[in-house]
Each structure stands twice: as structure tokens, then as C-alpha cells.
Amino acid sequence: MAQNALIRGLQQVGDHALKIVERMGAVMIFLGLILVHSANSFRRFGLTIREVYFAGVQSLIIILVSGLFVGMVLGLQGYETLQNYGSEQSVGILVALSLVRELGPVVAALLFASRAGSAITAEIGLMKATEQLSAMEMMAINPIARVVAPRFWGGVISMPLLAMLFSAMGIVGGFLVAVVLIGVDAGAFWSQMQSAVDFRHDIVNGIIKSLVFGVAISAIATFEGYEAPPTAEGVSGATTRTVVSSSLAILALDLVLTAFMLKGWN
């Protein structure tokens, strides 16, 4: 009896693991499908612009405010620790490098996944539940080209812009706390930052990261919406899954990308 329970437990674990791998494969195939049917979202660029508005412009407030707060906290914490070593001017380096390399792309992507990714999933899922997608197919309009691809590209375009705004805003926040509030010398703050932050190694790599995250979030969000069971429960479950799996994907991809970027690409 005990053996049977053990085997059943193992089977469940195996079943779960296989389902996860299957879903990842399905997302990749879906991403391929989107890329194949992307021509329309550039030929009729208005469709994509509309999605940039919903995904990007509407996430602007949360990104800017969070960036400001994150930068301020970094300034405070960094000053507190660096002061022990008598190098409080380096707080600029600390704020800028941690934002540009890591926090900007990652936190902006996490916020973007929960703010815009979930909305994309819910929208597409509801379109499916109310049979709008089937109706399009009936009229010989490919729903992937008409509905999914513009949302995907809207997300991909918005994500790097939002990450850069997050970093820039965070650095302003760090400046406000460290220089205006605490009184670190402004010249040292900026000049140390400039000598430490490299355009190619830090800023461009950060932008590459946010671009990869944008692709991952948009692919997962559109996939979950498109594959959502056409019920109220199905759509709500899909929305939750979007946030959970894209957050995990962001953090896992970040580890891989960071490892490559620190080591160099060869």
C-alpha cells in the first residue's frame, strides 16, 4: 500500500514536470506563430501604436513613481553603508550601477508583467470567451495577426522604454536623497558615476535585458490569453498564471543573461 502511494506520488510529480515542459514548448511555438504573422502589425502600424498606448503609456505612472522610490531607497541605504567606509560619494555609483544593470530592467519588467501583461491576457481571454476570435476566423481574419501580434509588439516596444525611464527616474531619486537631502557633493556624485558606468557594458546590456524580458512577458501574456479556457474562471486563472510564470521567467532569464554579460559572450 505504502509503495503504491509512493509510486502515485512520483507519478504526480512526473506528470506536473511534463506539463510544465509542455507549456514552455507551447509558448515557444506560439512565439514562432506570432513572428510568422507579424507583418500585419507593421504594415498597419496604427494597431501596434494602440497597444503601445495600452501597455506602455498606461504603465507610465506606476513605473515612474516606483522608479523614484526605488532610487531614493537605494540612495538612503547606500549612503548609510558607504558612510562607514568614508566613501559616501560613491553612492552615485551604487545607485546608477544597480539600477542600470539590474533593478531597472528587472523591477520594471515585474511591474510591467503585473500591470500590462495581466491586462493583455484578460483582454484576449475575454475575446475568446465571448467568441470574438472565432467570429474573426469565420470572416477569414487571422486572429493571431489581427489581435495577438500587435499586442505582442506593443509590449516588446514598450518594455525597453519603460526600463530606461525607470532607471533614469531612480537615478533622479537617488540624486534627490543623496545630494539634496543628505548633502553629498553633487560634482563627486555625478563624476564618480560617469567614471564607473560604461555605455556598452552597463547601459546597452541593461537595454538588451529589458528587450528580452519584453519578449518573454508579451509571449507569455498573449499565449495565456489565447489558450485560456473560455469561461470566467478560465480567464481569471490565465491572468494569474501570466503574472506568476512571467515573473519566474524574468528572474530566471535575468540570472542567465547576467551570467553571460559578466563573463562576456564568448
Binding site: V52, V57, V100, M164, S167, I171, R200
Partner: protein
């Protein structure tokens, strides 16, 4: 929503993102101070480079003039071969000397260049002949201890 207001907002968004990029590139990053200007590389051999790493600064009189491009072990001379990428705006005499220095007590290590008096300037691929490696703290301490021990030993000898 009206198509035109939508376009307007997206335009504002893209412009904001562009400004953020410019700020990151020029105000935060080093693109303004010669990130894109041409460099020339010179090599130099050090008996010991300490903790010198790639992309460490190269300074002359304290001013940043270049970066360490690569560090490798030279299997022929059995010492460290360091390639320096120096900003094309700065030309140094042929007999310039290079030394591995430390900024502060616990700070990062960098290569310091001291200009010589030669008429000829260093060119791409040249070698800096006069070099001084990093000071290794353990050796310094052991040398000090050794001298101390020797002194006290000779003191005792004098007393007898």
C-alpha cells in the same frame, strides 16, 4: 479614445523614453567623455600585476587616459602582459613608464603612466619598456620583519 490623442500620448511616451536613454548615455554613462573616440593599444610587461583587472583605469597625473584592454600571462617571459587601450587624443613619449598603483589603501588598482622626455611618441602596438609591478603587501611585511629581526640580532651581537 480618439486616434489622434492616442498617437499624441504614444509620441510623448516614446520621446520620454528617448530622453531617458540620452540621460543614461551622457549624464550617467561615459559616452560624453570619449566613449566613442578612437584608441590605440600599447603593451607592457609587469613582473606582478596584483589585482589589476580588465577595464581598470589607466591614469596619467591622476587623469583618466585609457583602460586596461586585456591581461594575460606571457609564457615566454614568464610575466604578465597587459594591453592598454589609450585615448587617441593623448600621445605619450616612447620612454613613458607604467606602474601598477592602488587608489587609496583598499581601492581598486590602476595603471599609472609617467611621461618621459623622448621626441618619438608611442604608436599602436608599441611596448612600454619601463614598468613597475604592484607592491605585494605580504612581501613588504616579510621584508620589514626580516630587517627588524636582523637589526635586533646585530644589536645583541654588539652587546656581547
Amino acid at each position: 479614445m480618439e486616434r489622434s490623442t492616442l498617437n499624441l500620448w504614444v509620441g510623448v511616451f516614446v520621446l520620454l523614453g528617448f530622453f531617458a536613454f540620452l540621460m543614461l548615455a551622457f549624464k550617467v554613462g561615459n559616452l560624453s567623455d570619449g566613449g566613442g573616440t578612437s584608441t590605440y593599444t600599447v603593451i607592457s610587461h609587469f613582473d606582478n600585476i596584483g589585482q589589476l583587472k580588465e577595464r581598470a583605469p589607466v591614469r596619467s597625473s591622476g587623469v583618466l587616459v585609457g583602460r586596461v584592454k586585456s591581461v594575460r600571462f606571457d609564457p615566454v617571459h614568464y610575466n604578465a602582459e597587459v594591453t592598454l587601450a589609450i585615448d587617441g587624443r593623448y600621445l605619450f613619449p616612447k620612454d613613458t613608464s607604467a606602474s601598477v598603483l592602488t587608489s587609496g589603501i583598499l581601492g581598486e588598482q590602476y595603471v599609472g603612466l609617467d611621461a618621459g622626455g623622448d621626441d618619438q611618441k608611442l604608436k599602436q602596438g608599441d611596448e612600454i619598456k619601463i614598468t613597475q609591478g604592484a607592491v605585494v603587501l605580504e612581501r613588504l611585511i616579510s621584508q620589514f620583519m626580516f630587517n627588524k629581526a636582523q637589526d635586533s640580532g646585530s644589536d645583541k651581537g654588539n652587546k656581547k
